[in-house]
């Protein structure tokens, strides 16, 4: 490489930073930047180009002409991510006719997709945006052993589902065990009414898909008709779909792992998992994650042993933990829920991971969201102070560089957008 070429190569990154011709969308300056993938940056600058993070660092130069957002010492964080949401499928207001989250007519409904139930203009979405949430994993409820496929949404203002969809997100499926399926189906002739029934249903579901594949391959006559649900289960068995299991009790977690191991299925995460701390070694050995709350407990007996230290103990065991909301109320303040976990002794960097990087990992989107890293989507939340301070409020939220919430303009979002 001659000298001239080498100089040109060296110049490229600098040119990207400096040249208005390359269309830096905007810069946030004078922010305390919680990058999550590195130390907190004081007096930080974040440059956004074409919806991506272009650069991040302390007091970076900003070319003239680039629109600047002066954070004035406020805190800039990655857009927050909720791994367990029913927004849209149980939209506000809570009404009988709005119950679109559980296809409660069969213990296994792998053929349904949560995206088909989403009320696109659920007012909960705007409230979540005002809480710095940018990405949510909307999943079916826990009535069924196999509840159906989930959908990953980015909370842009939109009148269409297409406007919310993260189309290339890895597929996910919601499964469940414990009290809910056995309660819902206890009066059904062949539905599960016990924990052993739940796991038998899980095994039977996997086995029926394997049998279906065999029959299709054997070219049976008459030919076995294509079954959308069983095709989905085959994709689960083939590792093409991330498996998220609603599961509270430690022995349910163990039982699900035993069942999954039998069929070679990897569990991506256990949701709610209020007993996870008791079997964190098993969860770590399997390579699964955990999604849970800091302090919900006692609403049913399988959540009676929930402890505030669950997240700390599980996280310290090296397991990714998504601090989830499962609630259109809590999702508005996920950052304060993370602050509670700091109160139990978890370090702040780890607490930040539970609402950003860890849920990104468990969605399979760790290369794209979850931290303020060059090249990632410019999904950002700007707070007026340390978000773990109870008085903190989100000032602005961006999704892929687009300003989707601005407190100065909108205040608290109204009931009817």
């Amino acid at each position: 490489m001659n000298l001239l070429a080498r100089a040109a190569a060296l110049c490229v990154p600098l040119c990207v930073l400096m040249s208005p011709a390359l269309a830096v969308d905007f810069a946030v300056v004078h922010a305390t930047v919680v990058t999550v993938d590195g130390p907190v940056i004081q007096d930080g600058t974040v440059l956004v180009t074409n919806g991506r993070i272009e650069a991040v660092g302390a007091r970076l130069p900003v070319a003239s002409g680039v629109p600047v957002v002066d954070a004035a010492g406020g805190w800039l964080t990655p857009g927050l991510i909720d791994l367990h949401s029913h927004m849209g499928v149980y939209p506000w207001p809570n009404l009988n006719a709005h119950e679109d989250g559980n296809e409660m007519n069969h213990p296994s409904t792998p053929q349904v997709w949560a995206g088909d139930s989403v009320r696109v203009m659920d007012p909960a979405f705007s409230r979540a945006r005002a809480g710095g949430i940018t990405t949510v994993h909307v999943i079916p409820g826990s009535a069924n052993i196999v509840g159906g496929e989930g959908v990953v949404l980015k909370l842009r203002p939109s009148r269409t589902l297409a406007g919310l969809l993260v189309e290339d997100a890895p597929r996910s499926i919601k499964m469940a065990c414990g009290e809910n399926p056995k309660r819902v189906y206890e009066k059904d002739a062949d539905g599960p009414s016990t924990r052993m029934g739940n796991l038998a249903w899980m095994r039977a579901t996997f086995q029926s898909a394997l049998d279906y594949r065999e029959a299709r391959a054997a070219g049976a006559s008459p030919p076995v008709a294509k079954d959308a649900g069983l095709e989905t289960i085959l994709d689960v068995l083939d590792g093409k779909v991330k498996v998220h299991v609603h599961c509270y009790r430690h022995d349910d977690i163990e039982g699900v792992l035993r069942t999954m191991d039998q069929f070679g299925v990897k569990v991506t995460s256990f949701h709610h998992a209020t007993d996870a701390y008791k079997v964190r070694d098993l969860i770590a050995a399997h390579g699964a994650g955990v999604a849970t709350w800091p302090d919900w407990w006692g609403f049913k007996i399988e959540a009676f042993d929930a402890i505030p230290d669950n997240i700390r103990l599980v996280k310290e065991a090296g397991i990714p933990v998504a601090l989830h909301s499962d609630s259109p109320d809590m999702v508005q303040r996920l950052y304060l829920e993370a602050a509670k976990v700091v109160g139990t002794g978890l370090d702040e960097a780890s607490a930040w991971e539970t609402i950003t990087m860890d849920p990104a990992r468990l969605l399979g989107l760790e290369g794209r969201i979850g931290s303020i890293t060059v090249g990632k989507d410019a999904d950002l939340a700007l707070f007026d102070r340390d978000p773990f301070d109870v008085q903190a409020r989100v000032q602005k939220t961006w999704i892929e560089g687009e300003l989707v919430y601005d407190r100065a303009q909108e205040g608290t979002p109204d009931a009817h957008p």
């Binding site: 506000w92 207001p93 809570n94 009404l95 007012p123 909960a124 409230r127 009290e179 701390y277 008791k278 964190r280 070694d281 770590a284 302090d295 919900w296 407990w297 006692g298 609403f299 049913k300 007996i301 009676f304 042993d305 929930a306 402890i307 505030p308 230290d309 103990l313 310290e316 065991a317 259109p328 109320d329 508005q332 303040r333 304060l336 829920e337 602050a339 509670k340 700091v342 109160g343 002794g345 773990f388 301070d389 109870v390 008085q391 903190a392 409020r393 608290t412 009931a415």
Partner: protein, 455 residues
Amino acid sequence: MTVPKREPLMPIPDPRGGLDRRQALMLLGAGLLTPSELLASELDPARFSGFVDGERQSFTLSNGTVLTHDGLVLLNAGIRVEGGRIVEVGRGVTGGEDLGGDWLVPGLVDAGCTLGMYEIGGEPSTRDDGDGPAVTVAARAVDGLNPRSQTLAVARAEGITHALLHPSLGRLVPGQAGLIRTAGGTLDSTVRRESVALVVCFGASAKGGEGGPSSRIGISRALLELMEGAPEPQALSARGRSGAGGTWRENSRSTSPPDTEHDRVLQQVRARSLKVIAAADRADDIERALDFFDAHQLDGLIMGGAEAWMVASQVADAGCGVLLGPLTTQPDSFDHIHARYENAAMLHDAGVPLALRSGGNHSSRRLRLQAGLLTAHGLPHEAAIHALTAGAGALLGVPGLGRLDPGTAATFFRATGDPLQPRSQVVQVWMAGRRADMRTRQTELRDRFETLSPR
């Protein structure tokens, strides 16, 4: 797997000499202890009192940050307690235990919840939070209380020292609310006031119960009939009441002396010797509740108040306090379409006296963070503290409740920082000068599983 072992927040000396409950049970299981050897520690009822100290103590704490019930933050301050009562509080206190800057905060009051009335939400067999027909005037929340409930211990460990218990809503008149403290172990020691107010529901929360109304028209009619059937209060009847005499409503009242608990309670309500708490969220239901108070000259409070900001001036003009909560910020029902974060701040600005409530049971411990959140949306910090402490005491009519005054019971807690902040931890609670037990089932589970056993 090894994880750092933390000391329990406050080790409890064991009367048997260093053997804790779990160790004792393990030894018993291993055949190393006989049941009779276990009895002394394991079967001492005092273990379940919620107190570590058997008696009211005398002690001094200094070099702390005292947060008064008016929300003043006093640095380099402390408290001196004698025989369970506060003798001195503030900047002048020296000596005794050094708090190292930790905060001292008056005990928090959850001004409306079902604490201790059930263990497991989803298990009817554990629930004692009310039942029966739509109107159960004689029903008392304290009769559903389990004073040894784990839900009390968990709330206590987060600084909640008192709670107004009410029967669960969902019926027109679910019964009477009472005041408890979150330690005591026995009913006698835990219940402070068996009856503070009669609870009446408006709007969606009134729909339910056998034979109850299922519309707002029916709710108003049923409440009118209830009050028409209520006996005349003797005192008021004797001196007459301006503006009430001679109306059809006045003439239709029973004048016979009360002969049932139902009548006796309604007579107290009429005589304003028992408060009425109206559960109402939708703005027009709050207006109806204010009209109900006015029509019957009742000593009323609003409970809930999700849309109260829309009628803040009417509430203020009526001189009516609000037991605000649970925190409702969103259009999650047609009774909450106009709920908003600024609700508390707007009521405070209008001059409405406030107390705060969780409305829950297991969720009571989240009250201090909910109060903090209101400060992020315009409620002054001192107003939030007042609402959680002395403001609640004043609205419920309980002298001394929530106050840090010389002469009042020494009921307060030590925290690592501002109690409204999520990162602050409650270190120790005192009630009437006795150290409360900070252990809960949850801290015991934490300690048991800090390190995992081999199997």
